[in-house]
Amino acid sequence: MSTSEPVLEIEDLHVRFTRRSGWRGRHVVDAVDGVSLTLHRGETLGLVGESGCGKSTLVRTVFGLNTPASGDIRILGTRLADLSALGQRRLRNRVQLVFQDPYSSLDPRLSVHDIVAEPLTIVGRYSKDRVVELLESVGIGAETLRRTPAQFSGGQRQRIGIARALALDPEVLVLDEPVSALDVSVQAQVINLLQDLQRERQLSYLFIAHDLSVVRHLSDRVAVMRQGRIVEIGERDQIFERPSHEYTRTLLAAIPIPDPHLRADAPPAPRPALTRTNRGTS
């Protein structure tokens, strides 16, 4: 499936933090401990793992917010380390980030227009039409251009965040838990939008989540991370149906399945639960 060209490659990446703690001295946290990943054009790579396993650190490092202790990052085949600061910046713009918290990722003092226009202004490509076009592509009407984020709901804010990420025509979107702060009824809206955009724009997604059902729904391949390392990586179905790593199995076993008929105390079903028909074999 993933035979197309790689757009983002991470090779043996290490990120360390020194933390002062305890009564004496400091200790070193290997937040990312030798991670290698390859994301191909057009695919969605899901990255799952428990809280604190280093997912966000990995992402921050890709965007230059953390300095790696060692390892390589390649974007569209070019090693970041080989480039000048300007070159790095240009190349990094091919990869964009969508944040987890729709409430803190938009500057509450700016209007929606200003928020989406900002990346365009920074690179000197601002045009109002472009802003409108971007917003409409995520389903936000042009008549709301002057409103501030406070006047939008969580789902709408996340759409605005996506529009901002799309402003520079990136090839890759890194999505750090983009729906986990959203209500159940709104999650699906955003997921659908992401799927549509991927199809239209040939985007590649590095999709981070700890909600496994979302990952399963969206991903082509899935990587399971634990304590700074990738413990298993593979095709979605392989991971979900034939997990080879113990930890993956624990994770999967822990997901509550939204079908009461699978309970031990389930009465004989008069008719199949709606959710089960959807779910097929489980």
Binding site: Q156, S185, A188, Q189, I191, N192, L251, L274
Partner: protein, 337 residues
């Protein structure tokens, strides 16, 4: 099925005042019952009034929010009119509560063991300090804290989130309560820990025979634990019934939409159903059915915009607040495709 009613909530209205001093109903006429030993799940979007409802039951509403009308009965005893003294007696002893965020649920400046011992001794007639400590260690051990006696001397920040939630549960079950109110007890935890905690709660219930009111957004948890479900939307109950009925034959478009929007592998090819729009603020609740602006029921009518639908019995123990409850099944079938 004919278990005694433990808790009855009748037409409860909880409100506050907005900046201009106008009354805002945050919980608007909620009624439900919990039978002895039963698990009731309260499901709904953020801000739908789940927490406030249960806080009102225990008399723990935050400042500025109050019960405007309604009745809450515990084994026939009126709780809203009860003295503060009586309520304190019930809380912790008969009615226990577990909150969402284990990181802040324990007092950071007191030792974990001491906090549990405190819960123990508060209702443990003239128990000595040593007995309290011993009992606390027992309780901690019973919720699966290894090396409980030693760990009890640590402070909350030295415990992980999952461990803290265990401690909170240990304190809650100290007096074999009749009702455990758990307000999103696992939302802040990882899935693996969530599973452990849910199992722990189930065990504890088994041991004590307590009923449980579980507040959650997670339909997976609901499917696994609930006997009955109450679906709340914008401060009102829109549907309630047994877990089987609600999952198999939802009678409200909101419930149907929730179920349909669950993401699964198969829908990856197609698309998951998404309820459009977002829920209203309590202060800006639309005139008729609060769900009407988002409702995609084909039979949706003008009435939905003007009349507030009342809860109607659809089947024994199954109620729905939809003017068009009858047409929901086919809608449900359709959107889940």
């Amino acid at each position: 099925m004919t278990r005694e009613v433990l808790l009855r909530v009748d037409d409860l209205v909880v409100g506050t005042r907005d900046g201009e001093g106008r009354e805002v109903r945050l919980v608007d006429g909620v009624s439900f019952e919990i039978a002895e030993g039963e698990v009731l799940c309260v499901v709904g979007e953020s801000g739908s009034g789940k927490s406030l409802t249960m806080a009102a039951v225990l008399g723990l509403l935050p400042t500025g929010v109050e019960v405007l009308s309604g009745r809450v009965e515990y084994r026939g005893e009126d709780l809203l009119g009860a003295s503060e003294r009586r309520l304190r007696e019930l809380r912790g002893r008969r009615l226990a509560m577990i909150f969402q965020d284990p990181m802040t649920a324990l007092n950071p400046v007191k030792r974990v063991g001491a906090q549990i011992a405190r819960a123990v001794r508060l209702h443990g007639d003239r128990m000595t300090r040593a007995e309290g400590d011993r009992r606390a260690a027992e309780l901690l051990a019973s919720v699966g804290v290894p090396d409980a006696a030693a760990r009890a001397r640590a402070y909350p920040h030295q415990w992980s989130g999952g461990m803290r939630q265990r401690a909170v549960i240990a304190a809650a079950i100290a007096h074999d309560p009749d009702l455990l109110v758990a307000d999103e007890p696992t939302t802040a935890l990882d899935v693996t820990i969530q599973a452990q905690i849910m199992e722990l709660l189930a065990e504890a219930r088994q041991r004590t025979g307590a009923a449980m009111a579980l507040i959650t957004h997670d339909l997976g948890l609901v499917a696994q634990t609930a006997d009955r479900i109450v679906i709340m939307y914008s401060g009102r109950i829109v549907e309630s019934g047994s877990v089987w009925e609600l999952f198999d034959t939802p009678r409200h478009p909101y419930t149907a939409g929730l179920l349909a929007s669950l993401l699964t592998a198969e829908s990856a090819s197609g698309r998951a159903y998404a309820i459009p729009g977002s829920p209203p603020q309590p202060a800006a609740r639309p005139a008729g059915c609060p769900f009407a602006p988002r409702c995609e029921l084909p039979t949706k009518s003008e009435r939905c915009r003007t009349d507030v639908p009342a809860l109607r019995a659809m089947a024994p123990g199954h109620t729905s607040a939809c003017h068009h409850a009858d047409s929901v099944s086919s809608f449900a079938q359709e959107v889940t495709r």
